[in-house]
């Protein structure tokens, strides 16, 4: 049994390595900038959703306010760069740390809430963050911040003529989030998180520190999402509150995981691989003058998938379970 388990873990790692290698080679064949753009976004959302999945999928604390951490990552990086000349690479780390600290600060009161009340709190807090940045003059308020582009530079992580560095960064972020999940899945934290999700009272009786489990999950999750936010800010080189902290980001982090299989290792990647290209393609095909047709098509597809596979797309690949009743 233990051998089975170890073999499964190793198999996951090998599949991930192969997929990452294939992904790394795609720019050799895909020269179209529009498609490259879709690939970058897909990888980014896969990484974000994977990070969201740590707190909401594994630990079961459903957050619809992760846009806050995404935006904090973006703003921390750009404010440090514009006001103090700190390179984005350091800004990225700073953004992660700031977000993790704020996630824990918010978790302190809000992890006492259970179920729907917690979800509502996350939405409200993210909206408050959005309003604060809307009115914060020093941070550019509603006007936002435009990052001056002065040619390609790895140091400043900005590129005008090529999208490839962004592509590889998004790929690295996605791999990092996946690997962190893989690693934590078979650790004390991973087990604690799943126990807390399934039954906090029982977890408590088995010596699980329920509150700190949630805090840990929130910190890891917020850190990784903030790194994603920093990346996005560099990628689009212009940020304003709506474009990095809007509610749609919270949804776009949650949806791939939910669609692919919440609380699973592969769910977010699978969900993002289908959902994000779909978002972009429906916008491309049905968007434009009609306005809204793309969203109807997109929404219908999500509803259909959810109806057919309520446990997520990943359940398509699930091995038949041993469910026979024995006595």
């Amino acid at each position: 049994m233990d051998k089975d388990f170890a073999a499964r873990r190793r198999r996951d790692l090998i599949i991930a390595a192969v997929l990452a290698a294939i992904a790394a080679l795609t720019p050799l064949f895909v020269k179209d900038v529009v498609v490259q753009n879709i690939l970058i976004l897909t990888l980014m959302y896969a990484g974000l959703s994977q990070s969201w999945n740590i707190l909401s999928g594994y630990c079961g604390q459903i957050s619809l306010g992760h846009a806050l951490y995404f935006g904090l990552g973006a703003y921390t990086t750009e404010l440090l760069f514009m006001k103090f000349g700190v390179l984005p690479w350091f800004g990225m780390l700073a953004g992660g740390v700031v977000s993790a600290l704020i996630a824990m600060g918010l978790g302190y009161p809000f992890f006492r809430l259970r179920g729907h009340y917690f979800v509502i709190a996350t939405i409200v807090i993210a909206e408050i963050g959005l309003l604060l940045f809307h009115n914060w003059e020093w941070a550019g308020a509603a006007m936002g911040i435009t990052i001056p582009i002065r040619g390609d530079s790895w140091l400043k992580f900005q590129f005008l003529r090529t999208k490839l560095p962004y592509f590889y960064f998004a790929l690295a972020l996605c791999c990092l989030a996946w690997f962190v999940t893989w690693w934590l899945e078979d650790s004390k934290w991973g087990f604690w998180w799943r126990a807390v999700k399934d039954n906090p009272d029982a977890a408590e009786s088995l010596g699980v520190d329920v509150f700190n489990s949630k805090m840990g999950a929130a910190a890891v999750s917020a850190f990784l999402v903030a790194v994603g936010g920093s990346f996005y800010a560099q990628f689009v080189s212009y940020i304003d509150p709506e474009s990095v902290m809007g509610f749609q980001f919270s949804l776009l982090m949650a949806l791939p995981a939910v669609l692919g299989g919440i609380g699973t290792l592969w769910g977010p990647v699978l969900g993002a691989a289908i959902l994000i290209p779909l978002t972009e393609l429906t916008r491309f095909k049905f968007g434009g003058s009609g306005r809204g047709v793309d969203l109807i098509v997109y929404g219908t597809l999500i509803v259909l998938i959810s109806l057919a596979l309520p446990r997520g797309l990943l359940s398509l690949f699930a091995r038949p379970k041993k469910t026979g009743v024995s006595r």
Binding site: M1, D2, D4, F5, D186, S187, K188, F191, W192, R194, A195, K197, D198, N199, D201, A202, A203, E204, S205, L206, G207, V208, D209, V210, G263, K321, K322, T323, V325, S326, R327
Partner: protein, 243 residues
């Protein structure tokens, strides 16, 4: 030798309702003690106070010579109190082995050791064949056993069993009784809440009867079942007169 568990003058009030009043009991090392009483006697409340779900309104609880009155459940688990739940609380989306690993992680920080410990406990409780099944797919009797297995994985000194034998078929109950004996033989003290007298009485070394939140009688099972006060509490005055 001091008792493993002792409650001293424990009171629990819920608003105007007094669930436990001045309850002082003690459980010695290596004993199987039955906590019995009619519905609403305050058994579950006392049980939850001992497990650390909530602190008592008044009084103190000593475990292994230490005052644990104010300690939360997780801290008591670390000190060696294991428990099951009357309404089973399995981790439904996790497999049987993973459920037990959560318990084993209290004393084993290395995953490999926790996993080995969990397998050991599954062997001990007779669930080994079901290790890779999801907890949600177990039949009720197996879920009860999983509760016990999970608690045992925390390597408790005291195991609190909350109606683990209630609602089982006679055969399942016999298997359960055998398991409880096996647990005691492994050196673990057992305090069990039950209200099915005929199952508990042959099993326990000592019985404590609660009624209306107070300790009514305690002693050897054979004496307890004949005690007029106990018969009265369970069946009413008319029967007690006859006894």
């Amino acid at each position: 030798m001091t008792a493993l568990l002792e409650t001293r003058g424990v009171w629990q009030r819920f608003g105007g309702l007094v669930a436990n009043s001045d309850v002082s009991i003690s459980v010695g090392r290596g004993e199987i003690v039955g906590l019995i009483g009619p519905n609403g006697a305050g058994k579950s409340t006392l049980f939850n106070l001992i497990a650390g779900v909530l602190p008592p309104t008044q009084g103190s609880i000593l475990f292994d010579g230490e005052d644990v009155t104010r300690l939360p459940a997780a801290a008591r688990c670390q000190r060696g109190v294991g428990r099951t739940f009357q309404v089973v609380k399995s981790f439904e989306t996790m497999t049987v082995i993973d459920n037990v690993i959560v318990g084993a992680l209290v004393r084993n920080t290395v995953m490999r050791e926790a996993r080995r410990k969990a397998h050991e406990v599954l062997e001990f409780t007779g669930l080994a064949a079901r290790a890779d099944v999801l907890a949600s797919d177990l039949v009720p009797a197996e879920k009860r056993r999983l509760e016990v297995a999970r608690a045992l994985a925390t390597e408790p000194k005291l195991l609190l069993l909350d109606e683990v034998l209630t609602g089982l078929t006679p055969t399942e109950a016999q298997t359960g009784v055998a398991l409880v004996r096996k647990v005691r033989d492994a050196g673990i003290t057992v305090l069990m809440v039950e209200h099915v007298m005929e199952i508990v009485m042959p099993l326990v070394d000592r019985a404590i009867v609660l009624d209306l939140g107070k300790v009514l009688v305690e002693g050897k099972p054979a004496d307890v079942v004949r005690d007029p006060k106990v018969i009265k509490a369970y069946l009413g005055d008319r029967h007690a007169v006859g006894a």
